[in-house]
Amino acid sequence: MSLRIHKPYILYDDGDHKFVWLGLDESEAEKGILANQYMVVDSGHGLLIDPGGYYVFQRVLENVSEFIDPARVDALFFSHQDPDVIGSLNILLDVFPDATIYISELWVRFIPHLGALDIKRIKPIPDQGMDIVLGKTTLKAIPAHFLHSPGNFHLYDPASKILFTGDLGAAVFPPNTWYLFVEDFDSHAKLMEGFHRRYLPCRRPLDKWLETIRGLDIRMIVPQHGAIMEEDKAEKFLKWLEGLGEIGVEHMEK
């Protein structure tokens, strides 16, 4: 049985500013690594985060339309270049005609291979990151290079204090099981370990990222795969990453 959750869940809402989880579709080939898509809405303007591949697109569009007119989607933020992140780019450009694409400058030259030739709509994110203005809020594209992609960014929303962490925090759920919020961190950590040891290349980029985000006021960590970690679970997750030990090449050599 495939999991399908086609209704969104609002993670933060102060009236003018929202952070929304956009639902879930599971393909059997994903083998438990289910992809999350999110949207930030501020003053009636929208930004989609890692809106995903073709087969999730219809649900993403329907859920976006529950909150704003698709023509008010100003921005599409892609953490990196994987198909589960960027696969539906062509149709996204079609249904969100005013949206600017934000992606690492490393990947801009590869986008034409998806059939999207309108380079004018792409705003490359430089290696050091950048601010992205959405309505009255300034979101921050935070460098997360080599976690796992060499040109990789996370997104911090200072209004909701939510940090989107792309593949960091990914978990592999057992068959027919899924949850949106982590309740028991220790048991959830077991579902995250395999992914982090194999998909991240080595320890150094992770330590550098932990330094980078240290000053941020984080209430919630929302990954592209896996479950959301709030408050004390977010803190436990950062501590868990610190203590993860060898990963990637170092782990494989062992």
Partner: protein
């Protein structure tokens, strides 16, 4: 004080409300969709967990108050009504839908603790499920219409162009060849398209089909040309949909964003 808080957190209270949901199609078709357990599981709002066919719902108010429970979903149907019952370990939510001349009536019941947190959401759940079921019933009708052969013997893609999943497949198999913004007066879209199609690039020779989509001030449209012939038009003007009719294109005006795709292969 302590006792009153504890009783608020644990004592079961009942909430009951009758609502009406206007429906724009035959409501019996919507009841049919609500009887599909797979549909209900996929379209239930406030789901934060799934385990087999069980679901967890979580309701939050004011960032302080929360209520979460795990539910088994039970559905009974018959005599033009659908009874959807969520049986939880601490609470029960029940929605009984029946048909009315212009829509659905629903009796919504919540029995459990933290009524103040949950009651607002159970009404929202009942309304949301009815609206999603209407959308699903409409979509099924559009798919059925699209499957009908056109009178001329050549397929009419107008109904398919209304389906975002079909358009997704179409664009997957296409190349974006033009993306521009034009200021068009009322009734000028036709001449723009004629100009485009007769341009020196001769895009019809390069691609077996051409898909054009556009958005204007209060109208949007999708068109499909196959082998140089117009084979489908879908337009939305205001909140009205039009299938296979080129007259609404006269209403596409203002700052119009246009995308032209060369279709490499038509989807099934």
């Amino acid at each position: 004080m302590y006792n009153s808080i504890c009783s608020y957190l644990t004592v079961k209270q009942m909430f009951k409300k009758k609502i009406e949901v206007p429906i724009g199609i035959d409501p019996i078709n919507v009841i049919g969709v609500l009887c599909d357990k797979g549909f209900v599981l996929s379209n239930m709002p406030y789901v934060v967990g799934r385990s087999g066919e069980g679901i967890a719902l979580e309701f939050r108010r004011l960032r302080i108050f929360r209520f979460r429970d795990n539910y088994e979903v039970l559905i009974e149907c018959g005599n033009g009504s659908a009874r959807i019952r969520l049986r939880g370990s601490r609470s029960t939510i029940e929605m009984i839908y029946s048909t009315r001349s212009n829509g659905l009536a629903a009796e919504v019941t919540y029995d459990g603790p933290r009524k103040w947190v949950v009651s607002k959401y159970v009404v929202e759940i009942a309304e949301s499920l009815a609206r999603e079921a209407e959308r699903e019933a409409r979509s099924k009708r559009a798919v059925a219409a699209a499957a009908l052969p056109a009178g001329t013997g050549s397929a009419d893609y107008s109904a398919k162009l209304a389906s975002i999943s079909w358009v997704t497949k179409l664009i997957m198999k296409s190349v974006l060849i033009k993306n521009e913004v034009r200021v068009l007066g009322k009734g000028k879209l036709h001449s723009y398209i004629e100009e485009l199609l007769s341009s020196g690039e001769n895009i019809f020779r390069k691609y077996p089909a051409i898909y054009i989509s556009g958005d204007g001030d209060d109208a949007r449209f999708r068109m499909l040309f196959v082998g140089g012939e117009l084979r489908g038009i879908y337009a939305v003007v205001g909140d009205k949909e039009f299938f296979g009719d080129d007259k609404p294109l006269n209403d596409v005006k203002g700052l119009v964003k246009l995308r032209v795709y060369g279709v490499l292969r038509l989807p099934d």
